[in-house]
Chain length 239, copies 2
């Protein structure tokens, strides 16, 4: 079964390198749009719908990080890979902060790039399969509107949730009564999985438990080493 080719936005100021890379990706069945600086890159980004962006970091007028930030404002989903001559840790961190999905130091092996591209696109594909457009949830006597970030208990005044609180509760609700793996929340909400983000998540779990206290039948249980589970007891089936 032949899928339609994935679209890649390639922003690279070196015209030779850019052309070679474009050709290479093209013969590997990607549809490549080449922009030669950040300005042009952003213009082309707005005009089309790409599956992946590959950005050179060092470019005149507008560098890769700035461009990435603009792209992220428009689109929270599209994967971004940075190409850079630098391999400094702070630069890498800066890249991930603006939401990069991967990093590649020049000069690099084209096969490695290809591998990364495929891995990233596949990952995004499986993510969008799991993540739901749904934004309203009934959780016991609570109602969550994750678009407005409101949590309402019965008919009381809604509580405003912070973005992280909201995302986390939504993810728990999507897995109601089932395991919500730690790792899933960390990689999807925190976009990183280490000791501190894990600690941070625990802090948020505590906050959510506080919010959910008024309903005795709603609980967030821990499954040691695995994740959390939002349980709703004595559930009355509606019809």
């Amino acid at each position: 079964m032949e899928e339609t080719h994935k679209k890649i936005l390639l922003v690279e100021d070196d015209p030779n390198f850019g052309a070679v890379l474009k050709d290479y990706l093209s013969i590997n069945d990607f549809e490549v749009t080449l922009a030669k600086n950040g300005m042009e890159g952003f213009e082309k980004f707005k005009k089309d719908n790409f599956d992946l962006c590959i950005l050179d970091v060092m470019m005149p007028y507008k560098d890769g990080y700035t461009l990435a930030r603009e792209i992220r404002e428009k689109n929270k989903e599209v994967p971004i890979i940075f190409l850079t001559a630098k391999s400094m840790k702070e630069d890498v961190l800066k890249g991930y902060k603006v939401g990069a999905d991967d990093y590649l130091n020049k000069p690099f092996d084209s096969e490695v790039l290809l591998m990364k591209i495929k891995a990233i696109i596949q990952r995004k594909a499986s993510e969008t399969k799991t993540d739901n457009a749904k934004f309203e949830f009934q959780i016991g006597r609570f109602h969550l509107n994750s678009k407005l970030r409101f949590l309402t208990f019965d008919n009381e005044e809604p509580i405003k949730l912070s973005p992280k609180e909201n995302e986390l509760l939504k993810m728990l609700a999507l897995h109601e009564n089932d395991l919500m793996p730690r790792e899933l929340a960390l990689t999807k909400i925190w976009r990183d999985d280490n000791y501190f983000t894990s600690r941070s998540m625990d802090v948020y779990i505590a906050k959510l438990r506080k919010y959910l206290k008024p309903d005795e039948d709603v609980e967030i249980l821990n499954i040691h080493g695995e994740g959390f589970r939002l349980v709703v007891k004595n559930k009355v089936e509606e019809k």
Copy 2:
């Protein structure tokens, strides 16, 4: 969060190259077992539980393809990567025929290998996640949910199982009324087979027996020197 390191079986007859590659993989957080020919490779394969095999094709006594076929007989799942000096099409085909997952021509870029390894392991992981591996078992009057790690007796409050308790009981249940070899549980659950892990397993068998006590018809029997057997007596067939 630190996962336990993935185990790789590396079979390579060139001692220098083998050692270098082993070191390289080790510093990249893999646990590598090196075998210097096909014979030794197969012996080591049987003794442990690997996440990946990397086989050199041209080796004395037993070549990579033959070894791969033997490995496949034992294990249909484990990913295999071939290393070869050849790049002939028929050889590649021969490799895929015995179930290779990937192919790499010497000399190769170590980063490429690393990438391939990661891609393959991740793919396998997501496969086993989506493949609806059985996780619910009826054991006499008990019900085991090995995903949530719950053991429920009749309609009583579920008992929480620890990861090891859970895995072990699941493995017993998978062999219900049949022998569950010691060695199997040790290599699969403890990923190591020595005096202490064996002792540890006995401790867990004791714990499980305690949990299962309420149902007279459920018992874990020992088969001296072989393993254990989960028996369920007076089984009433349901329809």
